[in-house]
Symmetry: D2
Subunit: 434 residues, 4 copies
């Protein structure tokens, strides 16, 4: 985890304090369930809740672990120090460490997913706002980095909205994938613990019981979870790249916000770098790199091996923390992005009307000019624009062969940008009202 | 695509013949819709369907492409050769090549997904059958490759069933992700084509209209598709690794089927190698390697660049073909897997009853022996098993300190394997009846 | 392997014909060595060479394999058909299939590497030529996509040369990595074959004997090989991205060559898309995707498992074929790249002299103006350029506070582009004469 | 970075203190060089060294950065606080932040590589020692997890030695790749700084000057560096997997060391889990996951974009720290690995002599028995071993058809394990004396 790309709320999910708190809750709820089953005395179950408002002493637990070399035993020892040895003696009965560890990991992933879901909702709100704001602001569409036909800035935001909305749906699926818990004992057979305990603990923690576990919760769930985050990161990169292109000196159709106070280069006022979007490009790679190891984690030996554990100690916190930061940063970038409609129009007009050449050609054909002739007429006037910097409409108006087929008004009509934006409403309805 | 890991039905989805057929259908349906809108004459639309039963001449199209350097134009030229130049003149009007190419790619992916769905259903049936067949066949559970407590072979098949069932659900989601089409023109604005055309074509091809496209269908959809295949491949690897472990000389609890006629080594009859499962392990890597490039494909420049295209020419066919083959091969392996319950029992009994040590210890405590003493008693008898190869039950029965707490019958009772299998029915119900 | 991204010479390395030819040579050389050792009769060794000029019948071998289910046996059977059963009876004695297969794979990789090395030498020649051609052609350097200070087009080519030259050195290392062979028997102990046979065969094939093999040649070698190709592919992407940026409509400092005959859009003459460079970007992803599976192939079980094989059937041909194509395509792009020095200068002058602002500021300080005042003076004139489109030099000359510190000539001197190019020779010497 | 997989020496390379120290040295050496050139006063250069023994105040620098939003400026401000504003005024002259940052990153990578090189030398020593210790201890070789022919435990260690020795050579190459520095100014043209400064600074820091840099040192170097670490990690996984297999309950030919005091399960004395090797398997994935993003970092826009930076903030420390830990852990595992020659022999004898069947068959042929008959004779006796658990040698001796061709002594001779180990010395010489 890189501290500068981390926000406290997400970080706290992965703190030792949070982890021990979840461990505690699992153990305490499990005791309740066992008391309900008559397996352990009610008073012992109740005694566990004495620690309800205790903040566990991480340093003390570490100290015990240094001796026992076992984290769950260290925690249970410390718990016994708090609630009393005798009271604690039924805690964890019939359970295996992984029951606690895996269920906890999934609780953490679910909570992380909830933050990410909120992040994405924030991002969607920002994208929607900007989409409507610039709904009809025309800019040149580009394929292969080359000018093509007009689009609007609103459409650009709208397509990012649609993409992130798909991301949100995927994320909700991914959250569901990992919202399971398992309290099924050493090899998942419930030999020493009743399935009712699992059911109770899961219900209390907002999880579903894992239908069939071994010693561990199966890792295909987590592979799917991290793969989904990887796709979302790729969508972040998609937006970031667009912003970086828009902010290029030669394009400058939009710019990351620069606060008045921010140290920019006044001697080089053009030197405002899209560093946030570049950073997002890099963060996307960091999130994405968890995907393959998460997939490699699926094939554990028999009822479990522990090869996945070190991987998850890394990618569990890092990936969710960096993605949370990236989503938040991107939301800020979108909200405050400075859009330059004037430059958009300037770029659109680079080739003085040439953007309408296709439409003029079509119009000529519709006026009865043969396909070949239409092409020839448009081409000869287009080349004047390209080679001599002429104005396309003026050239057409001055070309008798053209004007013999189309009136000046008809020519002008073909230069109407509204032709290109006439379905923006339709598209917006599809994106935002579906 | 590696021919030996390819099956004809899936391969045919990716043939030039299939591709041109889909192109044709898109163009023909688009003409119908345009005729409905009054944009083109009805008879021209109808004329296109003259080619309905024609098999397109791939060599001829290639020939034309060699001149035009443009695949869609080559196809349209050939289509005109078939239905007549005049009749063909409205075909493709207002459309852009990507409208055809991207919609076709998604049709292919959907069809590929349908085959994969059927594959997985077949695999699930095989897994379920084998799970019930060996539901109560006990084998030793292993964590870290070391004997732990008993499970059943049925549980092993059942958890693979559950995992693949999740895979199937994911695959259906992935199919939905790519089941969209776009006929939206050069930059996605419908400037030259009515959205109704897109709606009609998509309906005919079993797709949803892409709510907002640029020149292309957004590639986050495809990233999610290939990521999902990567997770399924990882689950295949998970099963393959288990089979390879089971077939190890020292374990031999199951074996890939060896036909009578198959050339094995009779001079070394133990030399039956799990080559199919090893092959599946490798195929999983091949499928998985598409995930990262598919994610790198998401961030296209502006309304499109064509960097994704070469990647998809590779991973589109290769990944679906190899996964189809792998699923089919795995299904065969599962169906015909030779299970050796006798060896399972032999392995379980390696340490002559030691597998029950935990339960004996628990029983002693329940009989009032202190935790420390219980541990000591079990330990000293366990060590005789471990060091001298003694029989655990006999040692216990011969230990007066033990027998003073438990009767022979009580001791024997703790060696009941039924203790470990008592919840197998519960788990099966959760897996198969949910 | 995607046919359209494949060149015949590289493809032929991976053909069945080539493979069988190498198998044959290995077997024949091995027989020679065994005859030298007196292990087999000299006449049998000589008899094998009867097939020296035979082209093996792939269809026939496939036919036999369909029965034997074993490729090497099928080949040996066919060889016996050619040279006679009796003559063939010592062929392959003491060897294991992997001796042939793995040694052959490495021969193929070495040959592939030789082609790639030649490709890179061709690319380097092209880069060097273009570097000298445009050595002093000034263009604006950009960081973060924003104008910074001047560089030259020659420097751009020169740094790609330096990068590819490193790539060539890496490739030569990678070639060395896989230039080993093994004829060491079933588990690598030479139990049934003398190490002298391995030595002889390797010498004949231009390989070093693998110091210690198991049944297979260790796969860390191949992991390193494919990782190296992945780095080279990333360098290709680096160049491709630069070209795509240069060809952007707004930048247009260079353009992929467009042949007269090539079907471009004359009605939209600006619509020349950098499709080759975009394609190279995608091909880089295809090459790179082999890296992780090649690394996953390293950890084989004990003396071998066959999980690596299917992976290598894919990535062996595909990666080398696509990289060969990409290098060749890139060389063509570089050789024929159309450079627009006029546009370079136009872009450089976008902010009418502002590119020299840093240097003017430094000069003011050197003239005794305080740091703060220098900054203030430059800033106020720079802002006129930025906001009003003024000319920076003229503004400076019109600012009495500036001119009180610097003469007109001194101001003009600071606008000398030679200041930025004065070390180009030094850098070129470091790159090309080292 | 995961603290439990981190060792202090490597961690300290990546501390803020170390980073600022290197920054300081770069600036101070640069001043020296500029004084030598007469560009700045000698006394100013000397003044910088006043801070030579100062430990920089990280908190103070962070405080300044919070205001300036620029890390290098914050550091320079703090440096001025120490040595005096006036004395500091020439520090960093003509340099750009990246000159400091990139050169520092490479110094850190070189230092990290030096630790990793020492780690690998330690590992090699351990592997060599164990190889010679168990040079002739025979165990069964396995292909596909199935018993094949005998090898020795010494060969197993020797091949890991050879693999890691290749890894060491690769690592030294990788170190060379990143042992460059750049002090070349804003876009790499040395416009404002003389190349002699770069030469001096690099010499002092043990680096070579980067022949051609832009604003940054080219990232193909770093891609190669991390790719190399990924290959080494894969070799670690290879060894770890072997150990995990050897420690399996059913195999138990070796075991990770278990200290007397270590809390194992005495009630289940077989339950000693190879957790260190499993952990190494996971750590290998963590190291490997840096490879792809490092390659994605190569294609920066024009003279630089900053997308690589966040990636490197993660993978720079994490990958080197985790690999250092893994190499150290593996060395400990190898040094203390408990090898069980008795179990090795037990496993070898699982099929009571069958391991020699191939050799007997060969011997029969050499005695004049036809190939078909030899096969038949061996097969029928082998099947008795396989099906009835008979002893292969005894069966052969009791088979009159066999004994008519071979004497008892001749039969016994074929069961000599020395046949399989006769070239171990040769192989050891190739591995250790080359």
């Amino acid at each position: 985890m890189i501290p500068r790309y981390a926000r406290p709320e997400m970080v706290s999910i992965w703190s030792p304090e949070t982890k021990f708190r979840i461990w505690y809750e699992i153990e305490a709820h499990a005791c309740d369930a066992m008391a309900d089953l008559g397996v352990i005395p009610r008073e012992n179950a109740e005694a566990v809740w004495k620690a309800k408002d205790t903040e566990f002493d991480v340093a003390r637990i570490d100290e015990i672990e240094a001796v026992t070399k076992h984290d769950v035993i260290a925690f249970l020892t410390h718990l016994a120090e708090i609630i009393g040895n005798d009271e604690a003696r039924f805690v964890h009965q019939g359970m295996t460490s992984s029951d606690v560890l895996d269920t906890t990991f999934n609780v953490q992933l679910v909570r992380a997913a909830d933050i990410l879901i909120a992040d994405m909702e924030g991002l969607l709100a920002a994208l929607k706002k900007r989409a409507y704001e610039h709904k009809m602001d025309v800019r040149i569409g580009r394929s292969h980095g080359i000018h093509a036909e007009p689009v609007t800035m609103g459409l650009t935001f709208a397509r990012f909205y649609a993409e992130m909305d798909r991301g949100l749906a995927r994320l909700k699926n991914a959250r569901q994938e990992v919202a399971t818990g398992a309290i099924s004992g050493a090899v998942g057979t419930f030999a020493n613990i009743d399935p009712a305990v699992e059911a109770h603990v899961c219900a209390k923690l907002g999880l579903r019981p894992e239908p069939i576990s071994t010693q561990v919760i199966p890792r295909d769930r987590h592979a799917m979870f991290f793969a989904t985050l990887g796709v979302i990161a790729s969508s972040i990169e998609n937006i970031a790249i667009e912003i970086r292109h828009m902010q290029r000196t030669e394009v400058l159709e939009a710019e990351e916000f620069f606060s008045k106070g921010q140290k920019g280069s006044s001697a080089m006022p053009h030197k405002r770098n899209p560093v946030l979007s570049e950073n997002l490009t890099g963060l996307a790679r960091l999130v994405r790199m968890a995907v393959v190891p998460a997939m490699e984690n699926v094939a554990l030996w028999h009822e479990r091996d522990i090869s996945h554990s070190s991987v998850e100690r890394g990618i569990g916190p890092d990936t969710t923390i960096h993605l949370d930061f990236a989503l938040s940063r991107l939301t800020g970038v979108i909200e405050k992005l400075v859009v330059y409609p004037k430059n958009m129009m300037r770029n659109l007009e680079t080739f003085r009307g040439l953007v309408h050449s296709q439409r003029v050609m079509l119009a000529l054909t519709q006026k009865g000019v043969s396909r070949e002739d239409s092409y020839r007429l448009v081409q000869r006037n287009a080349m004047k624009v390209w080679e001599e910097g002429a104005d396309f409409m003026e050239e057409l108006k001055a070309d008798p062969e053209v004007t013999s087929a189309m009136s000046e008004a008809e020519i002008e009509d073909k230069f109407d940008l509204g032709y290109h934006t006439k379905h923006v409403d339709t598209i917006f309805a599809r994106v935002f009202d579906a």
